[in-house]
């Protein structure tokens, strides 16, 4: 009996993994550069913002790496949540013709996001020697904000995917919302340079907080105080729990909505 549950668990993991790979293949089908886009996207964001903001602010130490840290997180977030949002609606055919646990769809889509995140991280490390940046030892803690980011993306994918089935307007609003996050999160500005609304928004912006934690590990070489970790973690886990519960509540009747 026990070996049976283990083998069925293995089967599930392999199913999720294989569908994540299919999902990645499908994402870049019909483009000439294919999977290279997953590295080019953050690089293009970076180039534009780097040129514009070194033009405004002048050259600053470590600004390039400060920028790419935020862009990496932002890009993983944007790609992950937009994929998660569409995970149910874009697979309506499968959902209508087979009996499958509904959360299979957001889960394999987020798995694809996690796999693709390795490309973003690769870009991040590749830029370090280019800008003669020597990371401090605190860099080894970077996986912690990364994991927080993935939990955030999964929670939002649960929430957005199921709500989108009922209210299709979400798929129009969400790209505008994520675009706004590029400006209101500490990506090209620093938290000690701003006041007022930007700083207060930071308190309710989990993505901004995760980016801030990463900045302190990567750029400042300090470990953020435990209170900051706890605040952000509770925030992210809260969003995950809400997303999961809403999903569970609404999942049963989605077939009738397609």
């Amino acid at each position: 009996m026990k070996s049976n549950t283990i083998s069925s668990f293995k089967k599930k993991v392999s199913l999720v993994f294989n569908f994540a790979i299919f999902n990645i293949q499908l994402r870049y089908k019909n483009s000439y550069l294919g999977i290279m886009w997953s590295a080019l996207e953050p690089l293009l964001y970076f180039t534009v913002l780097y040129v514009v903001f070194t033009g405004i602010r002048g050259r600053e130490d470590d600004f390039a790496i400060y920028l790419i840290t935020g862009i990496m997180m932002f890009h993983i977030f944007t790609r992950g949540t937009s994929g998660g949002l569409a995970s149910l609606t874009s697979h309506s055919g499968i959902i209508q013709s087979l009996r499958i646990k509904r959360d299979f769809f957001p889960i394999f889509t987020v798995t694809a996001t996690v796999l693709l995140a390795f490309v973003d991280v690769g870009v991040f490390f590749a830029l370090m020697p280019v800008f003669q940046f020597t990371p401090s030892i605190t860099l080894i803690l970077l996986p912690i904000p990364m994991i927080l980011l993935f939990i955030l993306v999964l929670g939002l994918s649960y929430l957005l995917s199921i709500v989108t089935v009922y209210i299709r307007d979400i798929q129009i609003i969400w790209p505008i919302f994520t675009h706004t996050l590029l400006f209101v999160s500490p990506i090209f500005w620093k938290t000690n340079e701003v006041q007022g609304i930007l700083l207060s928004f930071q308190k309710i912006n989990p993505l901004g907080q995760i980016i801030d934690l990463a900045h302190r590990l990567v750029i400042d070489g300090t470990i953020p105080p435990i209170n900051d970790w706890i605040y952000t973690t509770l925030f992210v886990v809260g969003i995950f729990v809400v997303g999961y519960l809403v999903f569970r509540k609404l999942e049963e009747r989605i077939v009738e909505e397609f």
């Binding site: 089967k11 392999s14 199913l15 294989n18 569908f19 299919f22 293949q25 499908l26 089908k29 019909n30 055919g93 499968i94 959902i95 209508q96 013709s97 087979l98 009996r99 499958i100 049963e252 009747r253 077939v255 009738e256």
Partner: protein, 243 residues
């Protein structure tokens, strides 16, 4: 108990009448309670292992909804469905396929979704393509397939997982004559292997040859469940134009 394959117990299913969308309906759709109608009304029957059940009825009588409920795609609002054995649904042909991917990749995805491991399905890809007579098109994207080719691919894949219970919605009406005969033979061999088939169709001739029991639905209600010939006779009384 062991001989029962499917037990449908008092199944009732409501469908919401879709709320109107658009800005002028926003306030209304929040305040209004959903209207609903009964698609299935207290359906109860049992299918034994080795039975071939033909489900008939006029358009909109709830046949497809019933199959989907048995397949577990819909959840009944009242009542329950008990399934005993590996089930493979063949409903809405080809909707589970990804148009942008090749036939081979689609077989892999479908097979895995139907519960096979990657290795198992990999070993069967060639046989599936051969059965579907699509070997030449294995590298072609599904969007370039005709609907008949898609149906053949779906049918071949579902057959290869060797289900104990097969749910079929109008499959024999797709494909050319040659393939129809082939799928008919496959059904017959299924029958000989004592597997259970639930079959929805309008083709009464096939029905009386294949099935031993029948279920007649009308406007979501169960009119008759019994021997196939008697059920067909009753159906002809309700809908005489069909013959």
């Amino acid at each position: 108990m062991e001989s029962i394959a499917i037990e449908v117990n008092n199944v009732t299913k409501f469908f919401k009448i879709s709320k109107p969308k658009g800005i002028s309906n926003l306030a209304k759709s929040i305040s209004l309670k959903n209207k609903s109608f009964k698609v299935l009304d207290s359906i109860s029957f049992t299918v034994n292992k080795g039975d071939v059940l033909g489900i008939i009825g006029t358009n909109g009588s709830g046949k497809t909804t019933l199959l989907r409920t048995i397949a577990g795609i819909y959840k009944p609002d009242i009542g329950s469905v008990k399934i005993n054995g590996r089930l493979s649904p063949l409903l809405q042909i080809g909707t589970g396929f990804q148009k942008e991917m090749k036939a081979k990749e689609n077989i892999m995805m479908n097979g895995m979704l139907l519960g096979m491991s990657k290795k198992e399905i990999e070993n069967k890809v060639t046989a599936i393509l051969k059965y579907a007579e699509l070997e030449r098109f294995s590298e072609m994207k599904l969007k370039h397939y005709s609907s008949g080719m898609r149906a053949r691919l779906a049918f071949a894949t579902a057959m290869q997982i060797e289900p104990e219970i097969l749910l079929v919605d109008e499959i024999l009406s797709v494909g050319d004559k040659n393939f129809k005969e082939k799928s008919y033979r496959t059904f017959t061999s299924f029958k000989e292997k004592q597997k259970t088939i639930l079959y929805v169709t309008h083709n009464l001739e096939n029905l009386s040859k294949l099935c031993n029991v029948g279920l007649l639905l009308d406007k979501g209600k169960q009119v008759m469940f019994g021997k196939i010939d008697e059920v067909i006779e009753k159906y002809n009384e309700i809908d005489p134009k069909e013959t």
